[in-house]
């Protein structure tokens, strides 16, 4: 695989990029913080990535730069057949409720930016005979909850987009994997109360890598979250009104 990873310096993205590197895939790290990208590139190179790991600038808030980011990855690896997006914006609901600018930034990055990037990648992959697009959505997009529907709706939109992308480009050999992590213990969720069935980044990464290899359209990680979300989706609205979570 020749994979461009957006968000590979931290959390689940870091864990997934390491699995790719350790089995000898080529990786390019795309993101905003050049210094962090460089440190993670050194990590992946030392862990066995094919060829030196390159870095490039990509900010989900700047769609004008997406083409250049993908070009840089393509050029560095002599080809590009996978895009992984684990980067996303996250904030506590209370910080989003009263700050429209902050809310807009989150919605723009998580939905608009990510969708535009993936659409662009799908066109490229289709024109060259195929590829894999693996994007981290969230179980928060499966059912609205009063305590995180703002973040959740950005992921709900993303999940529907990814489903459609997979349908639209499937016959041109573009495989789309929508990852829906449950609660995972990363720096992003530090300080939040840890619910039951919380996962570790490494475990999630292993599940996701298998899904990428197989082209599984939707993958829950840890897998138990498929059942949990099935149950939550079936709860009638009057129950969702009463529960406080």
């Amino acid at each position: 695989m020749k994979a461009a990873v957006v968000g590979g310096t931290r959390g689940m993205g870091r864990a997934l990029a390491r699995l790719l590197a350790e089995r000898g895939d080529a990786v390019t790290l795309l993101g905003r913080d050049a210094a962090e990208l460089e440190l993670s590139a050194r990590d992946l190179t030392a862990r066995g990535a094919r060829g030196p790991v390159a870095t490039g600038h990509l900010d989900l808030a700047e769609p004008d730069g997406f083409g250049a980011g993908l070009d840089a990855a393509d050029h560095a690896m002599g080809g590009l057949d996978a895009l992984v997006v684990t980067a996303a914006d996250f904030a506590a609901q209370k910080d989003l409720e009263r700050d429209p600018a902050r809310l807009r930034r989150l919605l723009d990055a998580n939905f608009t930016g990510t969708a535009v990037l993936c659409q662009q990648a799908a066109e490229r992959f289709a024109a060259r005979g195929g590829g894999t697009i693996c994007v981290f959505s969230s179980v928060a997009g499966d059912r609205a909850r009063r305590t995180n529907y703002l973040y959740g709706s950005s992921k709900a939109g993303l999940s529907v987009f990814l489903e459609g992308l997979g349908l639209a480009y499937g016959d041109r050999h573009v495989r789309v994997v929508c990852v829906r992590p449950g609660f995972v213990k990363t720096a992003m969720t530090a300080g939040l109360p840890v619910p039951p069935f919380a996962g570790e980044p490494d475990t999630v990464a292993r599940v996701v890598l298998r899904a990428m290899d197989r082209g599984t359209p939707v993958v829950y990680a840890p897998p138990i979250w498929r059942l949990i979300m099935l149950a939550i989706r079936m709860l009638p609205r009057f129950v969702m009104r009463r529960v406080r979570f």
Partner: protein, 448 residues
């Protein structure tokens, strides 16, 4: 985001326990607030070394800062962030023919922790401590500067940081030399020895020809059999000696809950110790076996959460070293005192250390070291430690801060002749005592 979470933390001995504001950043950086902080790795220090100085104070857990920054296959030189574990070093680099130069009895420790405790292993008599293989550290000091130090650069800061228990600054990056190993297999010989004198002689004898030596002693044996045990000596198996394929990971068991205290009664301990001795004594003597490195270096790593076997009240680990001249007599007095107290322990570990390092607070000195577990039974157990300390101080020995939970400040000062030098260097880099721990409050008199 770097969120804080309020958690209960303890050392591996599971006591004491305190609340702490724990931060687990992916990139190590001191918080800007200037408040006291202690770094913590994988939490394998037994006592209070990585515990907050006051309840609720900041603990900076390094385990997510675990990137490999450079590796040179030709020389084995590794540069990594401080939170990388030895387990990861082994997983990544053993297949490429490289092994940690020094390893403690668990691989679930961070490289930063190995530096801060200046850990030693079964090869101390030959290779010295972990710090001997460290070429460069990046330390974020109290005023926020990132300072590079090493044996020839900012040497004082280096010597104060190696073995300095994280009290001179935040170790963020380490460059060290790994040692070549042709395989993940070990060639090991075991020999039963009937008493303490034979054990200490055996360890010294084996030290001449073997890279790794250690003794397991039955610390419940009394009288003529006092100090009887099993001597183990080993070295890395060559490619020709090793079986095909990598050394297999042992099946990991886990202790699912706290054991009841009656489980570890003296009777059971005695049976275990005797059984272990007989098992090895029954083996044909001197015959070499080839075993996976995991079982040789890390027998307890196969049992997840083995510290829960000591029950809810936890345990103390006691490790001391005494000068060679004091040798057998001092170790004998320690064992007799332990026996008289009926302080049951699983096997005790004995090892013959080589020359001490230049690092001011480094633990090992030339002579025998003894390590054992003491189930915590309240004030009596602490009192026993003070009595053992008195024996150690009388002969010019010291205890190991990575294990310690109860040693008094005045006793520690009498154990460590280079403490004043270390304090002077620390004063230069951290006059406000920004880096402090429950242990530094206890043994160094830091402000609580």
């Amino acid at each position: 985001m770097g969120g804080l979470s309020i958690e209960s933390v303890s050392g591996w001995g599971r006591r004491p326990v305190a609340r702490a504001a724990v931060e687990r950043p992916e990139h190590l950086l001191l918080p800007r607030d200037g408040r006291p902080v202690v770094a913590r790795g994988l939490g394998r220090a037994y006592g209070d070394a990585a515990m907050p100085a006051t309840p609720g104070a900041r603990v900076l857990e390094t385990v997510r800062a675990d990137r490999v920054l450079a590796f040179d296959q030709g020389s084995g030189r590794l540069t990594c962030e401080a939170g990388l574990s030895l387990a990861e070093v082994l997983r990544i680099f053993l297949p490429r023919g490289w092994f940690p130069p020094v390893t403690p009895g668990t691989r679930f420790v961070t490289v930063g922790g190995c530096v801060a405790c200046d850990v030693h292993g079964k090869n101390h008599h030959r290779d010295g401590t972990f710090g001997a293989f460290v070429e460069r550290l990046v330390v974020q000091v109290a005023d926020g500067r990132m300072v590079e130090c090493g044996p020839a650069r900012e040497r004082e800061l280096f010597l104060a940081t190696v073995g300095g228990m994280g009290l001179t600054g935040l170790i963020t990056e380490v460059t060290l030399r790994l040692q070549p190993a042709e395989s993940g297999w070990m060639l090991v010989e075991t020999e039963p020895l009937a008493g303490l004198g034979a054990m200490l002689d055996g360890l010294r004898d084996a030290a001449k020809d073997w890279q790794y030596t250690v003794g397991w002693i039955d610390c419940l044996a009394r009288g003529a059999t006092l100090g009887r045990g099993i001597l183990m000596r080993g070295r890395h198996a060559t490619r020709g000696e090793a079986p095909a394929g990598p050394a297999p990971e042992p099946k990991r068991l886990a202790v699912p809950l706290d054991a009841p205290e009656w489980l570890l009664n003296p009777g059971l301990m005695r049976a275990f110790n005797t059984g272990y001795y007989r098992m090895h004594a029954g083996r044909p003597g001197g015959s070499a076996r080839i075993v996976p490195y995991q079982g040789f270096f890390y027998p307890l790593d196969a049992i997840g959460g083995w510290n829960r076997l000591y029950g809810r009240r936890g345990f103390l680990q006691y490790q001391c070293v005494v000068p060679r001249a004091a040798g057998a007599a001092a170790v004998g007095r320690l064992l007799e005192r332990l026996g008289a107290a009926g302080a049951a322990s699983f096997l005790a570990v004995i090892k013959d250390c080589g020359p001490e390092s230049d690092a001011y607070l480094s633990f090992p000195l030339e002579g025998p070291t003894l390590a054992l577990d003491l189930p915590y039974r309240g004030a009596a157990t602490e009192e026993l430690v003070h009595e053992l300390n008195a024996i150690v101080i009388a002969v010019g020995g010291r205890v190991y801060l990575a294990k310690d939970a109860v040693t008094r400040a005045e006793d520690f000062a009498r154990m460590v002749p280079r403490l004043a030098e270390w304090r002077r260097v620390r004063e230069k880099w951290d006059p406000e005592r920004r880096f402090r721990s429950a242990q530094s409050v206890r043994v160094l008199g830091d402000p609580a």
